[in-house]
Assembly symmetry: C2
Homo-oligomer: 590 residues x 2
């Protein structure tokens, strides 16, 4: 938090509490404190706070005053509040206050979140709006400014954040660095990204990496450019590759991927774990209600055999140190924020009895005591994108060159929720129009910036027998992505998203059967986390019933135009083939 | 190094070398790299540099070009260059280039140095002159700006650095924080120091602590004020106290004190050592030639039973991380400075076969290959202090109240080279003048700022049978300190220091028998390190021959007016009694 300063009066008061000259605001008596700096336990300690800070930490008693809130620890373990090293609150589908309302119960008291999607939706002002929404919350939300707005300016429509805007954002105290950079772009970059990394370096802030599938020399190249981390290792070998190069390695366990099990063999190894962190890479509302946030990740690590102390270190001091935040969060120490949990034993950290954040008891026994500050995005955010384009079914047919009877086309084949393949197929054409062969659905991507570019494509692997869906909750660019069994249904779903001013819609025949409005930039709902989760479940359920064969069609729509993973992606500017050195546009027809 | 930025061209070139597109500048083949992030070994690795940076690090070969310098590692260990976490190059008695000329041979490639003494001598401009002397050297010199100029403004004469000056210095890239603050002052501070700590916090920089003998609640109070470290723990318990409070703990092994042996019981303990660092707290020219710098400290730690990997981590990545420098130094990783040593085995690191710093082979087999840049302090630095005051022996007698025949006086009793006691004694007076009782010497402290305040006192424990000495190489304030067996000799020694424009002088009878000119602020010599060491030895030898009973009278003079250690100190403003909460002036006579 370079640039943040604790007020002098606060420090003076903390000093007075530490010295026993004044009484603490909160006194937690008789706990076994986990010192994450040393990985050792401090039994029968007392924690005395002053405002949001830990002030005293000692085996000696502190005298409570008449205003002191006293919490009897009764020998429970006090562990630092968890830090999500790679959050995506910018695309959590719910607002940050709604997210925190549930997330705080489990003890994730700090988040380092990317802001790429608010950047993609609104440009720089969107990041500022987002930052306003996270201020003065009962948890810490540290932001990363994305150097990838849009994900790839050569391939995707979108706002383009200027270096001066990025520099301005980097100077803010709550901005701790630059968000993830795809290694393919870093390795090719002519200098634009390096300019941004220099700005981060100048302000003493980090630049995060995204090295999915990168070979070692490419990872070294990332480090040479100033990138300090990667959260894309999925095997023990990949983790070690990154550590050998001095890249802080965040093991991901969240809604998009769950990598802990794949790297669990590391648990038994005897090396220094300081450069290993934990993060979610985003938790959607369904998973938030079902699992929680970092408490689930840490518990899973423990269940997979990681030493509990190490698991907690990976979710606290290691993450904090990587981001240069260890003077503020990540440990229970005087002069740092009082963020900690009380748990019955170190092997069971998933349901803390008490959560203290910024010196306040924010949750106890699963009940929220300190509700997040409600926040409304400005009216402008509800009107910033252009959802006015309506489609006729007749527009969504694909024209073939005159006189041809069969055309060879590229098909986006869905391999799982995230990865696609490039397939080719001979498709019959009639009167200059392609006929959809059996098993092939129609895809559509529409930019929500003026002029509203759009592009249609052919999709296999979704297996929609009927119906269609469309979503503006997509990554990397302001677009609506849709898939349908027929042009009529696809047009209906896409048009419904437009009518809502952003959102997700599923239709069957001429009926909308499930929908989720996302009026804030087409990516964020103003509904409660419970309501959003219920609607997301309904959307997934309907689409699986209509034929989608994997778990999470909501996610599949989200990544339809995402050029960060292989292999053929449908964007508003057309098809993009994602290879080992980045994406290139390819025509629909061969 | 917040604020420093590697040039974009350098990063692009490093990337090209990492990717094998360009050939390295230096290629070190087949070494076992110690990865200090994980504490593991990477056998048969190759290190490829680009300019000052490590670019490639791999088991795969790099192709040398026609310009590539190739160093065959032949399986030797490559360990990161050592970092002295608490150096005092500001008071090294020799210039930084002279210091480095020898220090580089042993592989200390980075120094975090206080600048208090150049601040005391010259104020802010002195710090800037010093920073100019450390720029563009073959080693990294990171500076700390002292919040203690002078050591205690209520007790000592001196320049006073203004908050704006400190702020200006903190903004410089090579300044990594504020130098040590005595805990006694921090605990009492009304807010002046906290203002400076806020400036450090605002710029994301550290504030170092000095918690000698502080109880735990006082250490917690330091942390509450924003102090992040202590280098004054002298026992395993004191180390643990500091670690339990989240204070980075620098174990000191240098010319002023050697604490490694006292804390060696920690070596066998199984805890996370990341918050433990190593530093010298200053190495004088005699010790520099005899032992070296950090290579001696690390070797001693290993010899005392510390695991070699841990010992190296304590001298590299741990120190680097504490100062927020881990993106630049402290490990052998792509994108960081290429600072490393080749050693035959991990248990013997004290005589590296090769030293690479900033990508250059700076030393090999004890021979220096890259001489430091010579630097001359500006003329102004030679004339900044006022050494014009000459003393007559008659001035150096102590007057007693008229009519008294015996007076009860305070005596500064030297317990060892550093610590003094307060003793009292009934001393006969004759014609209003005190008679020196047997075994009691005369002390003098003279400020070198106008107006030249001075104060005389009585010293026991030096046991000078004859002769006198005086020195301007003192801590915490611009003063000359002297001790003599007679007023005549004391006047001669002090006057000689004045004639030299600063320095150290020893006389016997009316002969100067040893001297060391220190024309730069009275604290720094322009002679070679070998010459200075020889003269320092001669000074100590003469004084021990004259009766001084401990090892290092040069040091005893240095701390005569130093209010950071117990108990009775003689300053130009009079006697100061140093208690558990700081110093207070006390009169000579009771």
């Amino acid at each position: 938090m370079k640039g943040q300063v604790f007020p002098r009066e606060l420090r003076l008061r903390a000093r007075a509490v530490a010295l026993g000259q004044e009484s603490p605001d909160l006194l937690v008596r008789d706990v076994t404190v986990l010192n994450v700096h040393t990985g050792t336990l401090l039994p029968h300690f007392h924690i005395a706070t002053a405002g949001p800070l830990v002030a005293g930490l000692s085996r000696d008693e502190f005298s409570p005053g008449s205003q002191t809130v006293v919490l009897e620890g009764r020998g429970r373990y006090a562990i630092p509040g968890f830090i999500d090293a790679h959050a995506h609150l910018d695309e959590g589908v719910v607002t940050v206050p709604e997210f925190l309302r549930h997330a705080l119960l489990g003890g994730t008291t700090a988040y380092v979140t990317d802001t790429a999607e608010v950047g993609n939706a609104f440009g720089c002002r969107g990041v500022i709006w987002f930052l306003e929404s996270v201020m003065d919350q009962p948890a810490h939300v540290f932001a990363l400014v994305s150097p990838m707005v849009p994900g790839d300016p050569q391939l995707l429509p979108g706002h383009r954040m200027q270096p001066e805007e990025v520099a301005e954002l980097l100077r803010r105290a709550e901005v701790v660095g630059l968000g993830e950079s795809y290694w393919t772009r870093v390795v090719r970059d002519g200098g634009d990204l390096l300019t941004l990394y220099s700005l981060a370096e100048e302000t003493g802030k980090v630049a995060e990496g995204h090295g999915a599938g990168a070979r070692k020399e490419c990872l070294a190249a990332l480090a040479c450019c100033g990138i300090g981390s990667c959260h894309e290792a999925i095997s023990p070998e990949e983790v070690k590759d990154r550590l050998s190069l001095g890249l802080f390695t965040i093991v991901r366990e969240g809604s998009v991927r769950r990598d802990l099990e794949g790297v669990a063999a590391l648990a038994g190894e005897d090396f220094d774990f300081r450069y290993l962190g934990l993060g979610t890479d985003g938790v959607n509302p369904v998973d938030l209600l079902r699992y929680g946030v970092m408490e689930y990740v840490v518990q899973k690590a423990i269940d997979l055999g990681f030493d509990p102390v190490r698991a907690v270190q990976m979710a606290t001091i290691n993450n904090a140190t990587h981001f240069g935040l260890e003077r503020y969060v990540g440990s229970i120490s005087p002069g740092r924020y009082a963020d900690f949990l009380l748990v019955e034993d170190l092997h069971h950290v998933g349901r803390p009895q008490a959560v203290v954040a910024k010196g306040r008891l924010v949750a106890q026994d699963g009940r929220l005591l300190a509700p997040p500050r409600r926040h409304r995005f400005p009216e402008e955010a509800h009107r910033a994108l252009d959802f006015s384009r309506r489609f006729l079914a007749s527009e969504l047919t694909i024209t073939a060159p005159p006189g041809t009877r069969r055309v060879r086309v590229r098909i986006v084949h869905q391999r799982n929720d995230v990865v696609t393949e490039e397939q080719t197929l001979d498709v019959p054409s009639q009167k200059g129009r392609l006929t959809l062969p059996p098993g092939i659905n129609l895809g559509l991507a529409v930019s929500t910036l003026r002029p509203a570019k759009w592009s249609a494509g052919l999709i296999s692997g979704w297996n929609l027998r009927a119906g269609a869906c469309a979503s503006s909750a997509v990554w990397d660019a302001p677009q609506v992505a849709g898939v349908g069994a027929s042009a009529e249904e696809l047009a209906l779903a896409v048009n419904r998203v437009g009518e809502m001013g952003g959102g997700v819609a599923v239709c069957e025949g001429n009926q909308i059967v499930a929908e989720l409005p996302l009026p804030i930039g087409g990516i964020i709902s103003d509904l409660s986390v419970e309501e959003v989760a219920a609607r997301m479940k309904a959307i997934d359920l309907h689409l699986r019933r209509l034929g989608y064969p994997y778990a999470n069609p909501f996610l599949a729509l989200r990544v339809m135009g995402y050029v960060g993973v292989p292999r053929l992606r449908l964007t508003a500017c057309g098809l993009v083939r994602v290879g080992s050195l980045g994406g290139e546009p390819v025509p629909l027809m061969l």
